[in-house]
Amino acid sequence: MERSEAELIAAVLQGDAASFEPLVQKYSPRVFATARRYARRESEVEDIAQEVWLKAFEKLKSFRGEAPFEHWLMRMTVRTCYDFLRGHQRNRESSFSDLTESESDWLQKFVTAPENASDMADAAKLLVGRVLEKLSPSARLVITLLEIEDRSVKEIAEITGWSVPLVKVRAFRARAEMRKIISKMGKDQYL
């Protein structure tokens, strides 16, 4: 008979570490999907996921069972991703002069006829990845949660541990930072 999540967690807390494995199996896809929003290299994604699960095992005692385990785990995942971003602030100062041909073409298409530049194009997805990489860690986190994952300010406050006013301030600054980076991208390409 398959054991419930609460039973598995209780067993782990009583010292049966093997009961942790079904939890890892069940929730790893979500952990990996979240980690891939913040890290590009597969080795980095795996490192983040591994760190999340080891932290989850270590801190399982602090899980009170008031909210679903998945919420608790996703909060830990997002915080680990944020720590990763803060520790890997590379490429932020580089220019946009090394765009690929397809990315340049898409940008050119947007400049000449914005309605023809599809947001479903792979080049657009690559471009947004480049822009996100140049954002500061907090700005990237806020833009990802608020604009890409469409979460509410209150949810973001719960996930990140920031206050609601702080999330609002950071969201305002993040949008401004992103617009600045986008206009820099335009200048690097056309000036």
Partner: protein, 100 residues
């Protein structure tokens, strides 16, 4: 270039592409292999270890002080010190006696 429109398009592009949720083969086995390596935090053990360390440090300091007082050259200053202490403590009494 319309920055606001480009911002909107790029965010739409990011939203359109949900990230891959693929998990590497036997990832859970890897995690389970790493778990025994995590030291389990036992608060009682931490307290006991801390108290032992404190006790050993105190014993070391006491031994050093004992050795220092034992091996340091003897002097008559201890008599002077006790005399000085007595004089200082009784100074107010002496003054009041003299005043009467």
């Amino acid at each position: 270039m319309n920055v606001t429109e480009l911002h909107r398009k790029l965010i739409a592009a990011a939203r359109a592409g949900a990230p891959d949720d693929r998990v590497p083969y036997a990832f859970e086995k890897r995690i389970m292999a790493l778990i025994p390596a995590i030291p389990r935090t036992n608060s009682a053990a931490l307290w006991v270890r801390g108290l032992w360390q404190a006790a050993l440090s105190c014993a070391a300091v006491a031994l050093l002080c004992g050795a220092w007082s034992f091996f340091s050259p003897a002097s008559n200053s201890s008599d002077d010190l006790s005399q000085n202490l007595e004089t200082t403590l009784l100074a107010s009494v002496d003054q009041s006696d003299q005043a009467q």
